[in-house]
Symmetry: C2
Subunit: 420 residues, 2 copies
């Protein structure tokens, strides 16, 4: 029978193998005393298996409160990387039930003073139940008509407070400035001061007019986050008005709602990861975005956020790049679909980050979203957009930004304005 594999970083004062066995027991067949029915045969068939243990050496102190010490023997706290596997037969190809196994009660175990889910490897059998991304990289390029460079986007700001008409006016200005992609802020879905049923049609009408005039269809990720019936109705409204994308806050809606949306969707699904810091900022407890994004790709997102280099948040650059690479790495080998999705770079992004982003990712298959980097450009948003296009041209050509800026004025102003 195929197996599910999960890789963890862990920290324990127990012998590492013993602590790993505690996780395996808790997450497959365990209780705290032997009970009738728990036979050796049953254990052999259903127990989690320790595939690999790599000792990472001693650690000075416990990362998490509430951890225990062994009753006997020397207590030396160590970190380790472990790999556990479970038979698919335990939970079947069900993402919600997979979570209870690989991300259930194990963070509460006394034997552990630190635990981070690093990665997951799932059998392709999950594709029998989950549809994966409908558009992904190629589909999103096709919907936006942008090839051979990143899709350049921006986020509607201020986050909250604008009316539908004010939002549409901002969208008109941004479309005229030349952006490829515009998204709602995650704080704006259906606020009473800016109802979705007013905002989305107003915005999409502007973009429809723009498309007729220029031939360019700007993608608008309309934040449909809400209850299941609301999301489906808002999706339909978007489709009805010619939209090509909807956005949802993944942590707010959960995997089952995403699956319903995916089955229903006719447009791209933009998966916003707000709330991610609660899961991912700390090494202990934590879940890496590399593991997290796989669940949502299976469930059907087409894009997801990875933060950006030199972002205004706490995430280090290597973590950002690891997430982005993961989005573009196939989850399954051919002939199965790889379920790749578009990584979305955002948070304090300007022209300055383009070269390092391209160098680290080796690809332009991404959405590069800049807020202030476009709207804050001294020569106006159109110059802001051009400065980003120029920065990415330079990045791909491997010409230093400062040199490229000598012959590209908008980029030069951008470099002067958004400090180095």
């Amino acid at each position: 029978m195929e197996r599910i594999v999960a890789r963890y970083w862990m920290e324990t004062a127990f012998p590492v193998e013993e602590a790993a066995a505690t996780i395996a027991g808790e997450q497959s067949t365990g209780t705290f005393v032997a009970v009738p029915g728990e036979t050796q045969a049953l254990r052999e068939r259903y127990a989690a298996r320790m595939e690999r243990v790599q000792d990472l050496g001693p650690v000075a102190q416990a990362s998490l409160p509430g951890s225990g010490l062994p009753r006997h023997g020397k207590a030396e706290r160590r970190a380790a990387e472990i790999e556990l596997s479970w038979p698919l037969e335990n939970m079947g190809t069900s993402l919600p039930n997979l979570l209870a196994t690989v991300a259930g009660n194990l963070w509460e175990l006394k034997a552990l003073s630190g635990l981070r889910l690093l990665d997951l490897s799932l059998p392709a059998a999950f594709l029998d139940r989950y549809q994966g991304p409908q558009f992904g990289v190629a589909g999103t390029r096709s919907l936006t008509g942008v090839y051979d460079r990143p899709i350049l986007g921006t986020i509607l700001k201020p986050s909250v407070g604008m009316s539908a008409a004010e939002t549409a006016a901002q969208v008109r200005m941004l479309a005229e400035a030349g952006v490829d992609f515009i998204k709602d802020d995650e704080l704006q879905a259906d606020g009473p001061h800016c109802p979705f049923a007013e905002r989305a049609p107003a915005v999409l009408q502007v973009l429809e007019q723009h498309a007729r005039r220029t031939g360019k269809r700007v993608m608008y990720a309309a934040n449909i986050t809400g209850e299941v019936d609301e999301m489906l109705a808002r999706h339909d409204l978007v489709v009805q008005h010619g939209g090509t994308c909807v956005m949802v806050s993944m942590n707010s809606i959960g995997l089952p709602a995403m699956k319903v949306l995916r089955a229903h969707a006719k447009v791209a699904i933009h998966g916003h990861r707000n709330g991610w810091g609660l899961l991912g900022r700390s090494p202990a407890p934590g879940m890496s975005f590399v593991a997290f994004q796989k669940l949502w790709r299976l469930a059907g997102i087409d894009h997801t956020h990875v933060n950006g280099l030199s972002n205004k948040f706490c995430e280090p650059d290597d973590s950002v790049i690891a997430s982005a690479r993961a989005c573009l790495t196939p989850m399954f080998a051919p002939p199965h679909p790889g379920c790749e999705v578009v990584p979305v770079f955002s948070s304090g992004q300007t022209a300055r980050q383009a070269p390092a982003t391209f160098a680290a990712l080796g690809s332009t298959d991404l959405i590069f979203a800049a807020g202030g980097g476009i709207l804050g450009h001294p020569a106006g948003p159109a110059a802001g957009v051009r400065s980003l296009q120029q920065a990415w041209e330079a990045a791909v050509l491997q010409i230093p930004l400062a040199k490229y800026a000598e012959s590209h004025g908008e980029l030069r102003v951008s470099l002067e304005s958004f400090g180095g």
Copy 2:
């Protein structure tokens, strides 16, 4: 306009008021440069408001990686408790969108080296959209016929591996032993080796026969966790076979799926919190269960897990009791419903924990779930159940367990077997 209030513990090297203002800005109107449209009037209407700041003194080191230091002035790291409020107009009465505001990007802020959401206070207007618990404490007592003492339960073990017939056989034994409540393990929902469509009817048939024979209807929390359509179909199967409860893993399904289930449900909803440790074990980052459970009560759960005193996991007793008290504390003042739910004590529970649990909670409105504490009783599970009943009689009468055990044999054996 009514406001939403969130209370946080935070840690920062910036002046506390400045860091709190950063959160408020990020979660209502902010971007990193001033943008057109962000007027003073808009800020006054929609900005988050700092209601209270309580300095908790200096801390030696940053709890989380990635935190920043102020550019100017002295950097002294301090902890504080802060209360922020937002106008309901920002997001409306939508729990998924409330999450993006009170539990969104703020954990990623560089200004913070620690953040924990401690509590939430929501306007009663949320009751216009959310149904709250359908059964709660009184309804669950009525469904089980258990009054004036805790509902005594157990969890089917081993967690995974039993067939439907084996599960039903264990349920027969437990029902005959006298338990009031039986729940599936969170690891067992619809495993290919134990399909829900076989297990639930087999179990409920046993309980139906037992009810006809004895007049006692044992509540079976059938783990219906899965996709939305699966959960509704499994709920219906439970109802069709005379069941009175369904169980879902809250972190696996998300709030919108819970709202759909609640609107559909004819029986009690048992909200399992597995995965909770990832959110709640650490002070930084974290979300307290006191805040978390309010969201799920509004969405419609009737019971939820709070761990147990002296549990086998890492959670300290004061945290367990704070969670349990929160479940029994009204969320809204009359004439609105309080939305109280039944706290479920579990994890290594035996007769020994009854007195301290009662003393701390001051109530018997709880489910007390013991696994090994019942099945591991040397005189058999019926004696295990009687020992728990006796322990709770003693607790309520405030008679020491050892004294009560002198005249109650099952309790005496239990105390001897499950070490002190």
